[in-house]
Structure formats: C-alpha cells, structure tokens
C-alpha cells in the first residue's frame, strides 16, 4: 500500500510538471513603464527662539486619498508662514503641527470628534462639513470665532456667500476650506448613439441653464435610451448610492423649504415638495425603468465603475468626482482626456420646464477650532496661512473642488484649470444644507421615503405619510409640517 502511495505521488508530480511545461507561455519581451510611489515623511524644522515656546497643535481631516489630502497637508505647508508671522510680530511661540488624516465615514468621523471632545482630547483643528456646526456649536465643542477673524486679513478674501454656511445663531464657527458643485453629468457618446447631433450635445448645458431642458426632459431621454437599447434598463439616470446631501436639492427643486422664516428652533417639512420628489423617484424606478430599484445599495465602487465604463446616460454627482474618476478609475484610459471626450456637465435641470430654475448644492468643508484648544489664536493663524490662492488652488485642482477665494478668479493656475473654471458658474444656482441639530434626523426620515418608493415597497403617497409620522415622532415640536 505504502509502495503504491509513492508511485501515485510520483505520477501526480510528473503529470503536474507536464501540465506546467505545456502551460508555459511564449516568451515575449514587453517594455513597461513603472511608476513607483514612495511615501516620504514630512519633516518640519521649527526654530524656537531662546526662552520661546514650541506649541504642539493637532489637526484632523477626512480626505479621500490621494486627491483630497491637501485638506490637512495645506495646514502642514502653512506652518512655515505661520511661524514667520509670529517671528515678525515678536511673538516667541512657534507652531509644530501633527496631522491625522484618513477617509472615515462622515458619521464615524463626527462621532470620533464628539467622543474626543468629551474625553478632553479633541484636536485643535477639525476640518468637517459645515452642517456639523448644528450639533457642535450648541454642544460647546467648537469655538465662536466671530470676533477673531478680523485679525487675519487673509479671511477677507473668502467669497462672501460661503460665510453663510459657517453661521449658527448669527455667529461664525468655522473658516471655509473648500466648496464644490454637484452637477448633472451626461454621457456624450451614448447621446450620440441615441441620434443626438454634436450641436445638440454641446448646447445641452446652455439649454439646462436656460430652463429649456428640464428634469422631465431628462427622464424622457433616459427612457428613450432604455427603450432603444442604448443603455440597459435602470442605467438611464443614476443618483448617488446612499443617503447624503444631494437628496436635499431635489426637495429644494420641488419648492421645498427647510429653515423656517422666523428662524425657530425647528425645521420645516413641506409635504407638497416631498411628495413631488417621491413621485419622481417612483416614476424613475417603477414606471420608466430608468433608475435601478437597487441603486441605493451603498456600493460606491459599482457606481463609479458603471459611470466610467460608459454605461450610464445621465447621473447626478459631485464636482470632486471628476478628479476621482480621472485618477482612480480612468488612469489607464486617458484619465481626464477620456472625461472631456465622453462626459459633459451642467447644473441640475429645473424640475419643470418654464416653471423652476436649475439648481445645485454646495457642501463647504470648514476648518473649525476646538473649544478645548489652548492656543486658538495660533490655530486660526495657521488656518489663515493655509487660506491662500496658491495652497487652495493646488488643493482645488487636485481634488476637483471649487476655490473659496475671490482672488482665485484672476489667479492663473486656477483659471487655467479647465474643469474648475467651467464648473464655477454652477455656484450661481447653489443651495446649502441647514446648520441645525435636527438636520440629521430630518434627513434620515426623508431618506426613508426615498428608499421605500425606489424599492417599490410604498407608493409616493404612502411614503409621505410614513415620513411625516416618523418626523413627528422623532422631532416632535422641532419639526413644522406644512
């Protein structure tokens, strides 16, 4: 038996060797270009005058690598300028900065700061969504900087409208770090396959801007593309695959308001506007078959892949996606050149032709200063030195975000960035999220309605009733249902 075992083993080895020999590919010499990425630790050299103090600051940023890393890296790059300014002022303190930067989920990121604050270990600077002011300002986690910003002339260069996103109770709680637009994207190649002429395709952004091409037209064209087999069913129009700021501009587009006129301690839920949104999404998934009923599956990779494989006709995305697609999805197919050839963009179309106007939403990130920081003046000084046309433009160009400074309008490196300069006019139609402690709960309930109509579990009318009931149960007196 043992002897047989040896023979069987030898036979198997011999057969595998033969298979391997037969499988051996032909030798071909191919020249390949290798790109080697090397991580280089950034070393700061800070000279502290005799008797001076070295102040250790910590900054926390959420950034998608590599294109958004300027959020914290710009602060690091500003350390030298900040220390030079201190020397010039005769201040013997010097800044040493530690950055913590990753791409955590927004919810986890926010919770981390709250728990750190409660433990007394909050970073000095946190770069986060402006809507977090709604929770952090009343909780006392961040500093009211209204009376401090005039001491830093750099901040006067920030675009005036962006300051609106930094306010709560009429006070300023953060410094804008970036801005973006959320465009309506279209696939030019697929439109061509549908029979559109080049003139029609090129004029689409203008027709959207003038209100001639509305949301209903977008749905009609998407349905036509599905019926003609130009795109698969469910690939006519896509929105993001999970909850997020975007769905609020659907509600705004339908005429909804969220902040009550008197600024009461509540948020408004407009039944008519929400019903229009739910009807649209029900129509797109259940009737016209242009949007996947499973689109809210949370799968960002599948979403980006479908778009960059040229399978989707229309979609609502973010301006930062442009850089993300070019770097992470299309690097081997020409990167940004592929996008210019195949993809166009415009503001989000008006909901009804001739009745509404185009829209978009901006979600500025802000640098906020922890109320636990022992050196808020130094933190603000550092932020001011990162708020320059050069640093902010480097970040904006790399990440596909919009500039935040007035001076960038004439700053050549910014104006010569083709995508940024083309997408900038979208800000004319922009809206913001509310800075309210009730926004998150409002958004979760509103999104429940979206999930239920897209999955076909409820009709739009049923969804509306469920959402109203949920909002009243969750927010009580803090929601005004109209």
């Amino acid at each position: 038996m043992r002897k047989h075992g040896v023979w069987i083993a030898l036979t198997i080895v011999a057969m595998m060797s033969l298979m391997l020999v037969n499988c051996k590919p032909q030798t071909v010499t191919v020249e390949v270009e290798r790109t080697v990425e090397v991580t280089v630790p950034v070393v700061q050299t800070v000279e502290v005058p005799v008797g001076g103090e070295l102040v250790h600051l910590v900054a926390r940023c959420k950034a998608a690598p590599p294109h958004e890393e300027g959020r914290c890296n710009n602060l690091l790059a500003a350390v030298g300028a900040a220390n030079a300014a201190l020397a010039e002022m005769g201040d013997d303190r010097r800044i040493e900065l530690e950055i913590i930067q990753d791409n955590a989920d927004w919810g986890d990121y926010k919770t981390e700061f709250e728990l750190a604050s409660d433990a007394g270990e909050a970073p000095d600077i946190i770069c986060s969504g402006h809507e977090h002011i709604g929770d952090w300002a009343p909780a006392g986690y961040i500093l009211d900087i209204t009376d401090m910003i005039d001491d830093y002339p750099e901040f006067s260069d920030i675009i005036d409208s962006l300051w609106e996103s930094t306010k709560w109770n009429g006070r300023i709680w953060g410094i804008p770090q970036d801005a973006e637009a959320r465009p309506f994207y279209f696939n030019k190649t697929l439109l061509r396959q549908l029979g559109w002429s080049d003139e029609e395709i090129e004029s689409l952004p203008d027709r959207v801007t003038s209100g001639e091409f509305a949301w209903e037209d977008m749905f009609d064209v998407a349905e036509e593309a599905v019926n003609a087999g130009v795109v698969q069913p469910g690939y006519g129009w896509w929105h993001r695959p999970k909850n997020g700021p975007d769905f609020l501009y659907y509600y705004y587009a339908a005429g909804g308001e969220i902040i009550p006129e008197g600024g009461e301690d509540a948020l408004v839920f407009d039944r008519d506007a929400a019903l229009i949104v739910y009807q649209l999404l029900y129509e797109a998934t259940q009737e016209r078959n242009i949007l996947l009923t499973t689109r809210l599956d949370g799968d960002w990779t599948g979403w980006h892949t479908g778009i960059t494989n040229g399978e989707v006709l229309f979609w609502f995305g973010g301006s930062w996606n442009w850089a993300e697609w070019a770097v992470n999805y299309l690097a081997d197919r020409g990167g940004e050149a592929w996008l210019w050839e195949n993809v166009g963009f415009a503001p989000i179309p008006a909901l009804r032709r001739g009745k509404n106007v185009p829209i978009t939403l901006t979600h500025p990130l802000l640098y906020m200063i922890s109320s636990q920081s022992e050196h808020p003046d130094l933190a603000l000084l550092l932020i001011s030195k990162a708020t320059t046309p050069q640093l902010n433009t480097d970040y904006a160009v790399a990440s596909g975000h919009l500039g935040i400074l007035k001076s960038q309008a004439d700053y050549t490196p910014y104006t010569s960035a083709k995508f940024l300069s083309r997408v900038l006019p979208l800000l004319e139609y922009t809206t913001f999220l509310p800075n309210s402690p009730y926004w998150s709960t409002w958004s979760e309930a509103y999104y429940l309605g979206i999930q239920s109509v897209e999955s076909g579990q409820l009709t739009p009318e049923e969804a509306l009733e469920v959402v109203v009931e949920q909002l009243q149960n969750e927010l009580g007196e803090h929601v005004i249902v109209r």
């Binding site: 927004w106 919810g107 986890d108 990121y109 926010k110 919770t111 709250e114 604050s117 409660d118 969504g129 809507e131 977090h132 709604g134 929770d135 952090w136 009343p138 909780a139 006392g140 986690y141 999970k242 909850n243 997020g244 996947l292 009923t293 499973t294 809210l296 599956d297 949370g298 799968d299 599948g302 402690p437 926004w439 998150s440 709960t441 958004s443 979760e444 999104y447 429940l448 999930q451 239920s452 897209e454 999955s455 076909g456 579990q457 409820l458 469920v466 009931e469 949920q470 149960n473 969750e474």
Partner: protein, 323 residues
Amino acid sequence: MSIAVAGDTTAARRKWDWARVRATLGAWGFLAPAAILVTVFFFIPVIILFVISLTDLSSSNFSEPLHFVWIENYARLFRDRFFPKILLNTVRYVILTLGFFNVGMALVLALLTTHINRRAGFFFRMIWLLPRITPSVVYILMWRRIAHQPPFGILNQLLAPFGVEPRYWLFEQPWLFVILVNGFVGASFGMIIFTSAIESIPRDYIMAAKVDGASTWQVIRDIILPLIRWPLLFVTTYQSLSLLTSFEYILLLTEGGPGLYTTEVWALTAYKRALKTYFGHNQWGYGAAWGFILVLIGLILSIIYLRVFRFNELVEEPKIDVL
C-alpha cells in the same frame, strides 16, 4: 471535668468555625472572578444603559449635564410604526439562523464528521471553522461579491451555464443571504460542542446497539441524541441569546435594507440610533432605550430557558455513575 468538657467543645467549635470560614472564603474566591466580570461587564453597563435611556443625551447636548426625559424615549420607541416590523425581523432572524444553522447544521456536521474517517472529519470541521476566523469585513465582502448585481456576481457566473437569468441576488433574496452569512459562521460553535459530546459517548453503547442490529439512524436517534441533550440545550440557549444581540454581519451586508427596514433587527436599530447615521447626529438616549429593551428580552428569554430546559438538573451530581 466539666471544665475540660467545656474546653473541648469550645476548641471543637473554634476548629469547626475556622473550617467553615475557609470553605466560605474558598467558595467566594472561586466565584469572585466570574462575579467581578459579570458585575463590571453586565450589571454596571446595564444600569448605565438604563439611566442614559431616561435622558435625551445626543450629539448636540453631550457636554451638558444629563437632562432626564424619563419614559419619553420608550414612548417614542413604541410609537414608531416600524417597531413591530423590527421585532418580527429579529424573531425571524434568530429562529431561522438557529434552526437551520447554529443548531440544525451544527448537529448534522457533528454527526457526519464523527461517522467518517477521523482525519477526514477533522479536515471538514476545520473547513467549517474558516468563516469564523475570517475578518468580518473580508467575509462580508466575499458574500457581496458572490451575490453582486449583474453583470458581476460569482453566483451569476456560476448559474449562467444553466440558463438562470442574472440578478442582484442580495437585493432580491436579502433574508436568504442574511441567514446564510450568519449561519455559516454560527454553525461551527455548535459543531465543536456536539462533536466533543458525541466523541465522549462510551463506545460500548454504540457497539452493543450495533451487535443488537441497530441501524446508523437508530443509533443516532436512540443513543446519540438523548445523550447529547444537554449540549443541545446549551447551544440553543447560548446561540439564541448571542444572535439576539448580533448585528455586525447584517450591518455590513445590507445595512438593514434593502428598502424599508427589510432586514433590520433590533440590535442594529439600537446601534444606528445611538451611533450610526449619515450625518452623524447620535441619539444616545434614544438608542439606549432600544438597547435596554433588548436586555430585558434577553433576560426574559434566559429565565424561560432556565425554567423550561431545567438547567438546575444539568448541574446536579449524576444520579448514576457511568463506568
């Protein structure tokens, strides 16, 4: 004489007292580690959970002193129209996963692997342990790829030659995958316990039955199953309580969806309310109310199990010694 007698009695009592103290201390000494663990990791957290559930503690008032709203969170919870659905989902999740996998499949695996070649049995048990030692995120990523939407999805690729229309399996059959994903991990626990119980049955019983002409099925039904009754009850109890509080695989797989709370279980709701919303407004007070109800359900279930399954008999001295 009487003095001497009295002296003897006192000495004896003293000796007896010392022995009793030693015995008591010994008992407490042995109990102490478990008692400390249960106190620190169960009783104290439950008390904290209950206190928090009576407050409106949230992201926007975390730094302030606790503001008590008493039973408002509980009233809100019971007013939530999805509360019955979430409860039913939890019952469905626990019963199906337990029945088909954590006890059912575990028993089948234990029986099969103890009735084949010992080494082969060990090998198959090792394979079934793999899901348990795979990191949760990697494990779920594999399942998501298996059940992914067309044109992707390993399942779609495998079924295509048989003419099965490609589909987004995870979204069309979310419950099937929730139970499979949890069951493939859960089955191994029972499998190990049952295997060791089966292996410890004296071989004489089985040999005697076989000599008497019993079939394999009769041996399993009339000898093995009655003798592993206690491990069966233990696994049922432990795993049902464990499933009641588990949600991580569901969170990673479906996030409680698709659509409207389709696969949302109680523990997941508590987690989402307290710690996980897109915009990060955490309602710790409200989440704690959901969590505390789960603790109550767990306690009630434990008492039912202890009574119905007569666990006190399990820990009694054996009435007959098996030689």
